[in-house]
Each structure stands twice: as structure tokens, then as C-alpha cells.
Symmetry: C2
Subunit: 306 residues, 2 copies
Amino acid sequence: MKNIKLQVPGTVANLVCGFDILGMALNEPFDEMEFKLLDERKIIIRHEDEFHLPTEPEKNVAGVVLQKILEKLENQNIGFEVTINKKIKPGSGLGSSAASAAGAAFGANELLGNIFSKEELVYFAMFGEELASGSRHADNIAPCLFGGITLVKSSEPMDIIPLSSPDLYVSAVHPQVEVKTSDARQILKKNIQMKDAVKQWGNVAGLVAGILKNDNKLISRSLEDVLVEPVRSILIPKFDEVKKQSLVLGALGGGISGSGPSIFMLSETKEIAEKVAEIMQKIYNEIGIENYVYVSKINDQGIRIV
Amino acid sequence: MKNIKLQVPGTVANLVCGFDILGMALNEPFDEMEFKLLDERKIIIRHEDEFHLPTEPEKNVAGVVLQKILEKLENQNIGFEVTINKKIKPGSGLGSSAASAAGAAFGANELLGNIFSKEELVYFAMFGEELASGSRHADNIAPCLFGGITLVKSSEPMDIIPLSSPDLYVSAVHPQVEVKTSDARQILKKNIQMKDAVKQWGNVAGLVAGILKNDNKLISRSLEDVLVEPVRSILIPKFDEVKKQSLVLGALGGGISGSGPSIFMLSETKEIAEKVAEIMQKIYNEIGIENYVYVSKINDQGIRIV
């Protein structure tokens, strides 16, 4: 039977001011997923990583996505066997569950001869996110599938706009501390001041314009979050220090990846991005927090077949 | 002495979801301003229109801008004589005071051999807005000077980003009712829900992307204001009716111009824009409210020398 192997990228959701709407795909870290098409209605999930994730399809993020796809193809005698080597750590805030979900949808579609549109793949993948986090959102799935920076104007009805993939480098650090998505949600203010919201959407407008006009200075000026970061960054030790030092080294800006604890920074050159990653590592090493750093260009393609 | 004649365009601030940040220049209506350079430190303002605006320089919007420019050029024996034929009605919400302010700065600069940048002209013109409304804002001045659709990411420090000038037509109606800017300000909520703000900046992002990618469908889907319009439209009789009928005729969308009472709608063709203007007029005629309608393309240039 046919088989296929994928590299499925990590992603950064809540791109600074673009809380709940802007996301970005990375080249590092990525998950590896291998798919086999079966000739019976069966889903087999195997994990080759160390994360002890459940492999029963109905409890596995990739599994529920494949179940939804099989439901759609109700008269066909087919199934999927998937082997996952997860390198995007669950709970890192780098889109680990979205990678499993989007990878499952993408891989199945490839084996089936690309019968679904990317929008349909987002639809299927959102069931995986629902299993992982309780909410059917596309913030990470969209950049994972489309690559570059994506705007999720609305999840229901689905309205996804791929923006572009700026020629920039990303440094990301995952300090090994636990930030529960539910805590990160709860800490957010439900009510905000109009004047702060105006400032935020001024930055959102500037960021989108900067991305589409390739204006790095404008991107840099717009990478400011006056609403979410001041609240959520409290949950991440040394956040302010990481940000301050990164900017001193010449990073354009950055912030919390997803709901944390990972932090990302954008830079114009690989040299700056590597220096930023070094200082990130140094800051956490000094206080004895285990950490992982990644440097890569913004991923312009999304999932890759290898 | 040198003299010069200008057409200074009306503008739409608070472009639907882009409250306080996005503005647009119109080809109709426009003010006419005629400038003479004098060889003594003197400012003479004449109004040829019917609006009985004060002509003492310190009480006139154009006058205070010219005063600021003269202050800057402290050692030169020069002055300005300006004749204004205002066609943008004060209080219409179509940027009447901004036209006087921006026109004054632009005209003086032309006579002086273009010694100031556009950003400096915005700076001078904001003193005119301050006289007119008490706040030094650039929402209308920026599109008046730059043309097209502009983003004022911030007024202080000044951060203006000209976006582009979509190939679209504007229908605008000014129903002759009074909406005081102070009332329009006061009625606004000071506190809003985060979820509404997220929806708003999703629309802002979509609108900016639509403008820069020339995607009229995306522009149309993004022309939605969940925060300001629902509150302010109460002050404008028949607002909902005008909007509904315009959309039925095929307009892409629109909303309140500035803080009202004018309403504008964007359309892809002149034919649709003219039909929209007709229905606008009909709706207000039926209830006996005097009204003025304008149809023009988005102004891609800003102020014109004639």
C-alpha cells in the first residue's frame, strides 16, 4: 500500500498584538509523521517519542482527525496507520497538538489523492485541537497547513487569509515550566479599556501592513501587545529579561508563543537570531531552568513531504 | 507675489472597524483654497462660503496652522493670504476642519518651495484640528495629505502609514442633522469585552490585508464594526435602513463617516455607487431630512494643485 512521510512544523499562535488571530509557521522544531493507507476501516496510531501520549484513536489528537475523515468517506474500505515521532514538546506553546492534528489531515489527504481543500483540512484538524484543548480553534492549524503568517479572521465560519512569509528568522526558547492553557486563559481580563483596544488594533494594522509591504521597521514598531502580554508574561519566569536582552541584540521584537511558556523573537539575520537564542539559553541556564532553543527561518511552506 | 490654488478633499475617518486609526480621502466633496505669499508677517483669512466661520487667524482652523508655520520661520518677512471656498460642510463628519488645516499647511509649504516633509505638514495641521475639536489627531489630516487609505498607528509619536488607494467608488450621504462630536464621544463605551475587541482587530487585520492585496471580497467581509457603530448609529436617523439598502444594491460595505452624521458606502463600480447614492437620497427625502450626496472614486492623491 501507499505510504508517505511528513515534516510537520511547530507554530506560534497569538503573534504579539495579534492575539487569537495571527499565527506563524516555524522550520524548527517539527514533528515527523509516517502514514500508511490500509485496506480496512481501521486506525492505528504509534508514537515513537517519549511523551506517553494515548494511542487509542479516540483519545489521540491525530486519531480523532483521522476518524472524522473516515466518517466522511463512509463507503470506502480504507484506514490509516500513523507513526508519530513528536519533537514539538506537548505543553510548550509551539503548536504541538496542532502539528498532530494538521499532520493527520494533510497526510490522509495525500494518501487519498488530495481530494480535500486546505480549508477542509483545517476543518478536520480542528477536531484534534478540540480534543487537546477543548476549543475548536485554527490559530496554530492554519499556519501549520498554509505556512508563513496566517490570519484567522474567524474560526466559525472559517475565514483564513494566508498573508505572506517574511524573510525573517525566529529564535524560540521553551523553558521547561508548566503554564496550563486553562490558567493562561483564566488570567486574561474579560473586560478591557477601549483606548487600549484601539492601541492594540493600531498595532495589528501596522503588523499586517508591515508583513505585506516587507517593511521590517514597521513590523518591529508593531510588535507590541498592550493587553495580553502584560498579564500572561507573569506566568513565565524571566520573560521581561529575555525580551529586553533580545531587543538589545537587535531582534525586531517578539513575545509569548501561544499561551506560553515558550518565547519567540524575530530577527532580520541568522546571526542576530543565533545570538538571541544563546542569550535565551544563558538566562534560563543561570537560574537552573531546563530549556530548549530553536533557530529557523519563518517556514514558508507549512507541512513538507520528505 | 506667488500664488496657488488647491482642491482639498473631504475624508472619511474611523473607517468602519478601523476606529481611530484608518482614514480615506474622497474626490467629492472638496474645499477650494487660494494662497498668496505676502512680504510681511501677516495672515489674512477670507471665506467665500456661507458658513460664517471666524476669520481672525487665531480662531480660524487654517489660521492657527499658518501661525504655527510662521512661528517656525521666525526670521523671515513673509505672510499668507488665504481665500477659502468651503464645500465640505462643517459638522458633516467628512473632514471639513481637517481640509482647512491640511490645506493651509500644504499651500504654505508649496509657496515656500516645499521645505517641509508630509509628516511635518501633518504636525502643523494637527494644531488646526485641536482648535476645531480640542484634540490633536491625524485621522482625517493623514488621508487628506497622503491620499488613498492611511493608517495612523499613533498620533504621538506620529506614526502614519499610507496603505494604498483601492480602485473603488465611494457614495456618501450627509443628512442635515446635528451630531455633536462631544456627544458621539460621550456615547462610546469606555470599557469593552475582550472577545468583541478580538473580533474587531480580526476585521482590522482583514481590512488592511484586503486593501493591500486588492481583495474586494475580503474588504467586504471585513467592513464590520462590532464596537462603535452599534452605539453611535443610534444618533443617525435611518442608519440601518441606508446600510441595508446599500448592501442589497451591491455595495461592499460601509458605515459612519468620522463621528457622523454622514454615512459612506464602498462599491466596485460607478453604477452601483450611483444607485447607492440615489437610495440614500430617497431614504432621507422620504422623511423630510435635507441631505447631500456625493459619489466619487477614492482619492489616490490627496490635495491637488489646480
